[in-house]
Symmetry: C2
Subunit: 200 residues, 2 copies
């Protein structure tokens, strides 16, 4: 979700991308439509053209985009891992955020989490969008675990645990302005994850 991710694309995709970006730092309330347009360097008039459903639609698409993005990341991690282990995958997933906090000194959060916090109770369509986003994120993780030798039944559960831990630790890390919680979670959860692998 770094910069340059959406250059060359059409204005529509740039707006979705920018919305996700802005959601990460201030939540739904602090993310104005005008801000999105400006951040995406898109024409303002295009808003009502591409997103007749208004802010709700834009937020929903941003959330779904984030889900697909996370899934893509996982796939890339798995492909790049020298010798794939569950703890290695988990470390790679977390590393993305520790890096960001280390370089920028301040983290943005997860756009899906922001949508849940701000809209889950008020807007059913957005709630569903966040649910599918988590699902499209959990899927590849569970699949990767299964490929590493984790029994399929447990792979799904462990994937949920991994994502829960990441999201929670990210909250704490943002609060503390420090990567401590993220690194702690990686260290403590690693052995458990690797222990679920069944040698064959």
């Amino acid at each position: 979700m770094t910069a340059g991710e959406a250059s060359g694309r059409g204005p529509r995709e740039r707006m979705v991308f920018s919305a996700a970006q802005l959601l990460r730092r201030g939540g739904v309330g602090a993310t104005g439509m005008r801000d999105v347009v400006e951040h995406a360097r898109a024409p303002r008039g295009s808003l009502q053209h591409y997103f007749p459903g208004g802010k709700e639609q834009l937020v929903n698409e941003a959330v779904q985009w984030a889900g697909r993005y996370a899934a893509r990341r996982v796939a890339r991690f798995v492909a790049a891992l020298p010798e794939p282990t569950p703890s290695g995958l988990f470390a790679a997933m977390v590393h993305q955020w520790t890096d960001e906090l280390a370089t920028a000194g301040e983290t943005s959060g997860c756009p899906v989490a922001a949508a849940v916090v701000d809209r889950a109770g008020a807007c059913e369509s957005t709630r569903k969008a966040t649910a599918t986003a988590f699902a499209t994120w959990t899927g590849p993780v569970a699949e990767a675990l299964a490929d590493m030798g984790v029994p399929p039944a447990r792979a799904e559960a462990l994937a949920t645990l991994m994502i829960s831990a990441v999201e929670g630790a990210l909250l704490i890390a943002r609060a503390e302005g420090d990567v401590r919680a993220l690194t702690t979670v990686v260290r403590e959860l690693g052995p458990l994850l690797d222990g679920a692998v069944v040698r064959d």
Copy 2:
């Protein structure tokens, strides 16, 4: 954080309580000052009297209150546990939310998480308030683990892991409208927690 928690108290404490309550469901943006006053059945004029620092102060106090509340809960769990084990404590912590979702069919989230998502990047004082809230929550948990036989060095780390897992699973549960993530996390993390106990 159930109803009746703040009856009989002065209007000031009622407003802090109500703020925390409202933060849980819609985040900071959706929580208006007028809403807080109405929810607390407090006089509107008292706002600028008790909270001259405005919304920022009110949110900060609500967050700190939530931290103390969570710590109190943990202490009560520990006292009530028949035979104290780390997994038992963790299950009790999570049970509070599964209960709420089961009865109400819809969960509110954690006010501290809401404050982080909506204000961590914009308001330094609120960010610090969330950090101390997490700290006052983690403290009793780590202490309880140490009392159960977990080496103090690991107790702190495991407490962070537990709270991370709860917060993350709560996000997923709200998104899915289902307790699945919460129960999964309890089941998968339990053995790891109990395994950290050093018999003497």
